[in-house]
Symmetry: C2
Subunit: 484 residues, 2 copies
């Protein structure tokens, strides 16, 4: 019998055709090849290192982990250390007491056991306390689902909410492609709403409403609204009044609010602060009955930047008991999230406090990282705004700039001839000339006819001047080559 082989054309078309993930796409793979070339043939390229500005991965670019967090993790991994005298000279006193109390909250002190599918109860209690302290409103451990980073939580909610291609999810454009990929994988419809670049990536309720009505008129059952605050890739921080309007809109329209709040610690301007959507809803007097709301948080971002630990949680409020049971069932199929990530999620929501032995060093590490990120954001923003044809909104938060590049017609034609989107063509030329890796705006969505790149603010501060200077030379040469 002839064996029908596994081929791309008999794989799931939702994966093959619909799912794109730009932050790990063609340009990144090309960069990895160039990096290998630099190792095997040094001097063969016009630059001597690849500068990854494509992904929010701070520790890959030299950011150091927060010492207190890592001390606690090491002690929890190898609890025998707690019985040894030498440990007192190697670890801070509050790391020792925190690890002791975390281990006491884990049944059998077993960090190597599967936990409850929502995560270890004691850690969820700690996270709920951290949320309550942040928001000034109560939080409940039963509402917390610990996850391997924020992504699995997003997939879980999409898997539950999307029944077929007529179920829609309102998503910002530009958006982080996790959302478009997850909606595609689960077979739903992405209903776009545009952030307004001219008002600093403002979220306008009138546009939301228009897009919702437009989708409904096409027979789409819109189930949920995704908001990313602070914004990715756009870096804006929503004003509280804007958040209030969003909350009211979701209540009035019967939408689940999916709030991506993973950049809650990344705010770089004095006139903005982070407000969780739950705090905004409760401050408006909305109870659980008014609004189904999911808040996603991660250990990968903030000043901690522990991407490799894959920790995170979702806080779920406003769902009925039978619906919560289904969420629990989906969580159960993967048994539980990794315990190291669970512990870390409890730590980032309850870092050292004034009076703790580690507080001064913790505070210095945190402030050092956030202040440096703010300086880097400003330097890159200013540099972009000084270049011909580039305008760049302020990075109020998150880890990215999303400059608008007005590409000359000749460049657009050259891109077309090369069978590339114009911003992908630009990003590829940038990579090949300078080693700088950015993601084309077309990977996030943008107003048709506009072109952007997403550039992280994460390279080490001492490298920023060289990046700016390389970028400037490239851009000037590019514009000179293609000027209309």
């Amino acid at each position: 019998m002839a064996a029908p082989s596994v081929a791309v054309d008999n794989l799931n078309p939702k994966v093959v055709l619909k799912c794109e993930y730009a932050v790990r796409g063609e340009i990144v793979m090309h960069a990895q090849r160039l990096q290998q070339q630099l190792q095997t043939q040094p001097g063969s390229l016009p630059f001597d290192e690849i500068l990854y500005c494509n992904i929010g991965n701070p520790q890959s670019l030299g950011q150091q982990p927060v010492t207190f967090f890592r001390e606690v993790l090491a002690l929890c991994d190898h609890p025998c250390l707690l019985e040894r005298e030498e440990t007192k000279s190697l670890f801070s006193a509050d790391a020792i007491s925190r690890a002791t109390s975390i281990l006491a909250s884990i049944p059998g002190r077993a960090t190597g056991a599967y936990s409850h599918s929502q995560g270890i109860k004691g850690l969820r209690d700690a996270i709920a306390a951290g949320i309550a302290s942040r928001d000034g409103h109560p939080a409940n451990a039963d509402d917390i689902f610990l996850t391997d980073g924020a992504s699995p939580g997003v997939h879980m909610m999409m898997q539950l909410l999307i029944r077929n291609e007529k179920d829609g999810i309102l998503c910002p454009i530009p958006q982080y492609p996790l959302y478009s990929a997850s909606i595609a994988l689960h077979g739903g419809a992405l209903v776009p709403y545009y952030l307004n670049e001219s008002t600093g990536w403002g979220l306008e309720i009138s546009d939301l409403k228009k897009q919702l009505e437009d989708a409904r008129s096409k027979g789409i059952d819109v189930r949920a609204l995704v908001v990313i605050n602070p914004g990715n890739p756009t870096g804006q921080v929503l004003a509280e009044e804007n958040q209030e309007d969003i909350v009211k809109f979701c209540k009035n329209e019967g939408l689940v609010l999916l709030a991506d709040e993973v950049y809650q610690e990344n705010i770089y301007v004095d006139n903005k602060k982070f407000n969780s959507f739950k705090k905004v809803a409760r401050s408006l007097g909305y109870s659980e009955d008014d609004l189904p709301l999911v808040s996603f948080q991660s250990v990968s971002k903030g000043y901690y930047g522990e991407c490799g630990k894959r920790g995170g949680y979702m806080e779920i409020t406003g769902f009925s008991a039978p619906v919560r049971e289904q969420i629990y069932k989906v969580a159960s199929v993967n048994l539980c999230s990794n315990i190291t990530g669970q512990i870390l999620a409890s730590l980032v929501m309850n870092p050292p406090k004034v009076g703790d032995a580690s507080y001064a060093s913790y505070k210095a590490e945190k402030d050092g990282i956030l202040q440096s990120l703010a300086r880097r954001a400003k330097a890159l923003e200013d540099a972009f705004n000084n270049l011909e044809g580039i305008t760049c909104n302020k990075a109020e938060g998150a880890m990215y700039l999303f400059p608008n590049i007005c590409l000359p017609q000749k460049a657009i034609e050259a891109a077309k001839a090369a069978n590339k989107a114009p911003d992908a063509f630009y990003a590829l030329r940038l990579l090949e000339s300078t080693g700088i890796v950015v993601v084309p705006g077309s990977g996030f969505g943008q107003v048709p006819g506009t072109w952007h790149i997403r550039c992280t603010i994460l390279p080490q501060e001492e490298k920023i001047p060289a990046i700016i200077s390389r970028f400037k030379s490239f851009h000037e040469a590019f514009m000179a080559q293609y000027r209309n």
Copy 2:
């Protein structure tokens, strides 16, 4: 406008109706409630502790982690320790050198960074070397995809292979419900084949062929065959000749072989050994071109039992480059698996060797665990076989016994009156009488009209006599109550 709320009847029916996950199902939730009752009202139940025999979670029942593995993890979590003199007295020399070499293989020594979506290259090299040494056939780091335990790998493959409800996956019955849940979540058809209880849960090619043809005659496009070896929940270890027949069958029928090999270290009888399906295929002279094969491995099982660390990998051979690209794309959407789990996967595939400082203690820990598991398996197997109406095959491997319970007709009627499957009725009564938690066979599938329970062999060895005695008393009373 009226808000259409989120309700069970507007959630994804693949989740709500089709997905069941017995090992974390009704009986386990009831056990958790009873455990709380024991805490708040001691003495209110006829037992003083809940004995979880429902899930392969060794460390939750007191199994200690292997010291060497945890030393390496702690050092990788907090690399500053490597620069301190005290560390030499706290950690074994080979743990220090292993952590040093692992950190050297991670770009920037950044255990807090997202890795390559397949996992850190140096760790994949180590795993490939471990596989090659196990099998005596080469293995390639490019074929390894590190995953958060085995489950996400299984989901990834199901997501790729299943296009719609006409795509089928051949699964053993009884089976670990990860497979039925994953096929349901991805909207495919589970095509069952029965393991033969009377031949020690033998896998008969004639039955496989019959089920395949039957499915094809119904218009099902059968894409893959799942084999769990050693078996879960059945505990058998396949003979090499049987594996050869399975490999030939998959080649001849054009099926992907999905080999769940997570219990490869759990073998308790002298006359059986573990052979990976890849080794069997290569020994037959089959090359990559002959057979698409996926092997799943996990850090959760074996003698290591590190369930909470969520480490694992799949080794993928025999897929074309374009198909591999799609697998990579799916892996990318979750960015990467957790680095602690990645490191642990590299360790379990490359444990200390003769001559290493930790070798003697490592060997003693490993042998102690596996020998004790073998004794527990035998004691429980003998106990089951001594009870009226119960027959139990040998636990050759894995972590479970799956005894057949011939329930009296009156018990079956009582179950029906209580609206329970008869084996669920039995398991619930067992729980309420003794605190012992097992999973009803109906959660795994079984020949209609037969009834089973799955019971792990994991409770601490000193508790086994009490478990046997409690179980015996319960069973005798149950049979006395319902005897025909």
